[in-house]
C-alpha cells in the first residue's frame, strides 16, 4: 500500500510517440488517493494514450511513470491487479451472459469462485442490472453495456479506476445514472481517473482537471480554479448585425475583460455581464439578442484549446 500522502500515479516528462507522431509530449502530473482526476481535451490531445500507459497497455516511450509506486514496464501484472479499467469502446464478452461476464473476469484476477459469485450479485445490484443477469450481452442497450463494463472494472475491488470517456454516446438518463454511480464510488474512497470532452461531466465528477491539447498540459486545477483563472465569472453573449459589429469593433473591444468574435455572436467575458450589456445600450447600438450566463468549463476549454474543429 502506498502511504496516504503518496500519489497513486506519478508522471514526469512522460512521452509517447508512434513513429514520427507524438501523442504525449512530456507531461507531469500526480494523481492522489481518493480524488477524482480528469483529463480534459479535444480528440487527439493524448488523453487516451496517457490512460493506456497507466493501464500498462502501452509502453512508455520516455520519461518516468509510476503507478502504485511501481514501474509498468516490470510490474504490469501487480499494477493491473489493483486497477479497474473502463475502456472507450465496450469490450464485453459477447458470447457470455451479463453475470458470466463478471464471473469470468473475476477468474482472470484469480478471485475464488465463491467470492466472485457474491461480488457479482453486489455489482449487478450496484449498476442496476440484477434483472438482466442472465441476458446475453448483445441484447443490452448502450447504457447497460457501459454499466456492465463499469461493474466488470470493479470486480477486483480496485484502488484506482481508469475511465476513458465513460459516458460518450449515451443518452442523458444513462449518463446521469453513471455519474451518480461514479460519484458514489468516489464517496467510498475509490480514486477515479477519467478522460472526457464533456464539460458537464468534468464539472460534475472531477476534483482536479488537467487540460490537454496536442500532447501537452495546457492548464491544471479544480473546475472552479480554472474558471477563475482563465475566464471571468460571467459571459455576455450578444447578437448584432455584421454592419454594426464592423462599424463599432474598436469601441466594443474596450468592454469587459475580453471579447471573442464568433461567426454568429460576440462573447464578452466580464465579472458583471449586465453591466457590459448596459454599456452597449448606452452606446446606442442595436442588439438583436443578448444573454448573460455564468462562465463554464466549456469557456475555459474553448479558450485554451481553440475553436478549430479537430476530428
Amino acid at each position: 500500500m502506498p502511504s496516504a500522502s503518496g500519489p497513486l500515479v506519478l508522471a514526469r516528462a512522460l512521452r509517447k510517440t508512434f513513429g514520427s507522431f507524438t501523442a504525449v509530449d512530456g507531461i507531469d502530473f500526480e494523481v492522489r488517493p481518493g480524488e477524482a482526476f480528469g483529463f480534459l481535451g479535444p480528440n487527439g490531445a493524448g488523453k487516451t494514450s496517457t490512460m493506456r500507459m497507466i493501464a500498462c497497455a502501452s509502453p512508455v516511450t520516455s520519461g518516468e511513470l509510476r503507478v502504485f509506486d511501481r514501474d509498468p514496464r516490470t510490474d504490469a501484472s501487480a499494477i493491473k491487479a489493483r486497477l479497474g479499467v473502463v475502456p472507450q469502446a465496450d469490450n464485453l464478452d459477447a458470447e457470455l451472459t451479463v453475470r458470466e461476464n463478471l464471473l469470468m473476469y473475476a477468474r482472470y484476477f484469480d478471485i475464488p469462485q465463491r467470492v466472485a459469485r457474491d461480488r457479482a450479485e453486489e455489482l449487478l445490484a450496484f449498476v442496476q442490472l440484477a434483472e438482466r443477469r442472465d441476458s446475453q450481452v448483445e441484447t443490452l442497450s448502450g447504457g447497460m453495456k457501459r454499466r456492465l463494463t463499469i461493474a466488470r472494472a470493479l470486480v477486483n475491488e480496485p484502488e484506482l479506476i481508469l475511465l476513458d470517456e465513460p459516458t460518450t454516446g449515451l443518452d442523458p438518463q444513462a449518463r446521469h445514472l453513471i455519474w451518480e454511480r461514479l460519484y458514489r464510488l468516489k464517496r467510498q474512497g475509490t480514486t477515479l481517473l477519467l478522460t472526457t470532452h464533456y464539460m458537464d461531466e468534468a464539472e460534475q465528477l472531477c476534483d482536479r482537471l488537467l487540460v490537454m491539447d496536442k500532447g501537452r498540459i495546457v492548464a491544471e486545477g479544480s473546475p472552479r480554479e480554472l474558471i477563475a483563472r482563465y475566464v471571468t465569472r460571467e459571459v455576455l453573449e450578444v447578437r448584432m448585425t455584421d454592419e454594426v459589429r464592423a462599424a463599432n469593433a474598436g469601441r466594443l473591444a474596450t468592454l469587459g475583460t475580453h471579447l471573442e468574435h464568433l461567426p454568429e455572436r460576440l462573447q464578452f467575458y466580464a465579472d458583471d455581464g449586465e453591466q457590459v450589456l448596459e454599456q452597449i445600450h448606452q452606446m446606442g447600438l442595436p442588439v438583436e439578442r443578448a444573454l448573460v450566463r455564468r462562465a463554464t468549463l466549456e469557456d475555459v476549454f474553448l479558450r485554451l484549446t481553440g475553436r478549430t474543429l479537430i476530428d
Partner: protein
C-alpha cells in the same frame, strides 16, 4: 500455467451452449468419411490388390492419416476465425489484457483449448475405428497424441497470423491454397510415392506429411526411430516457433 486455464475455462463456458451441434459434427463427420472412403473406395482398392505399406486393408491405411488431417483441419479452423474475432470484433483480448493475465497466458490458454478440442476429435475418431473393426491393436491409441501434436503444429502459426488480420479476418486463401492442398497431397488418401516425382520430393517439406507419417507409423507399427525423430522434430519446431510468433503478434496488437 494455471492462468492459461482461465482461457480454457472461458471457452468451455461458451462451448457449453454450442456443444450439441459441435459434438454431432465431431462424431458424425469421421464416421461418414470413414464409411464412404474406407468401405466404399476401400473395397475397390483392396480388390485391385494395391500394395499399401504394411500390406493392410485400405481402411486401416486411411484411418490414421485421416485422423491427422482432421486434426489439422479442426485446429486450423479453431485458430483462425475465433481468434481473429476475439482480437478485432469483440476485443476480448484487450479486456483480458487489462487483468493480471499476461499475453503468454492468453496464447497458452488458447492452444490448450485447441488441444482439448483435438483430444475430443481424436477420441471420437478412434472410437469409430474400433466400431469399424479397423483398430487392430491398442496401438491405435498412440495415434491420439500424434494427431493432437499435428493439429497444434498448425494451430500456433495460424493463431499468430489470425491476430494480425483486420475485421475478423479473411482466411479463404489459407484454407484454399494451404489447408486443402495439404489435405489432398500429404499421403492421407494414398501413399506419397504415388505422386509425381517433384511432388514426392516436396512432400517432406510440408507439415501435414510429417503428421500423417507419424500417426500412421505409430498405428501400423512401420515407424523407424530416425524417421520418428524427424517427424516429431518438424512438428515440435512448428509448434514452438508458431507459439513464439503468436505471442509476438498478440503483443503487437495488445501493447501498442
Amino acid at each position: 500455467m494455471p492462468n492459461a486455464l482461465r482461457i480454457v475455462q472461458r471457452n468451455a463456458l461458451v462451448y457449453r451452449r454450442t456443444w450439441r451441434g459441435n459434438v454431432l459434427m465431431t462424431v458424425v463427420q469421421p464416421v461418414l468419411v470413414l464409411s464412404a472412403m474406407g468401405l466404399g473406395v476401400g473395397a475397390l482398392v483392396d480388390r485391385g490388390g494395391a500394395a499399401l505399406p504394411g500390406n493392410v486393408p485400405y481402411l486401416v491405411f486411411l484411418a490414421p492419416g485421416l485422423l491427422a488431417a482432421t486434426c489439422m483441419q479442426t485446429a486450423s479452423f479453431e485458430s483462425s476465425f475465433p481468434i481473429s474475432g476475439k482480437m478485432t470484433w469483440q476485443k476480448n483480448y484487450h479486456a483480458i489484457a487489462g487483468t493480471p493475465m499476461r499475453i503468454v497466458d492468453i496464447v497458452a490458454g488458447e492452444l490448450a483449448w485447441v488441444a482439448l478440442r483435438l483430444l475430443a476429435v481424436s477420441v471420437a475418431f478412434t472410437a469409430a475405428l474400433f466400431a469399424f473393426g479397423a483398430a487392430r491393436s491398442p496401438l491405435v491409441l498412440a495415434a491420439v497424441p500424434a494427431a493432437i501434436l499435428t493439429g497444434l503444429a498448425f494451430s500456433a502459426p495460424i493463431m499468430a497470423f489470425a491476430a494480425t488480420l483486420k475485421n475478423g479476418g479473411n482466411f479463404n486463401a489459407l484454407f484454399r491454397f494451404i489447408i486443402t492442398p495439404l489435405f489432398l497431397f500429404s499421403g492421407v488418401y494414398f501413399p506419397v510415392t504415388r505422386l509425381p516425382e517433384w511432388l514426392q520430393r516436396a512432400a517432406p517439406w510440408t507439415p501435414l506429411y510429417h503428421g500423417v507419417e507419424l500417426t500412421r507409423g505409430l498405428v501400423l507399427h512401420t515407424l523407424t526411430w530416425p524417421s520418428a525423430a524427424v517427424h516429431l522434430a518438424y512438428l515440435l519446431v512448428m509448434c514452438g516457433s508458431g507459439t513464439v510468433a503468436a505471442v509476438w503478434t498478440f503483443s503487437g496488437k495488445l501493447r501498442a
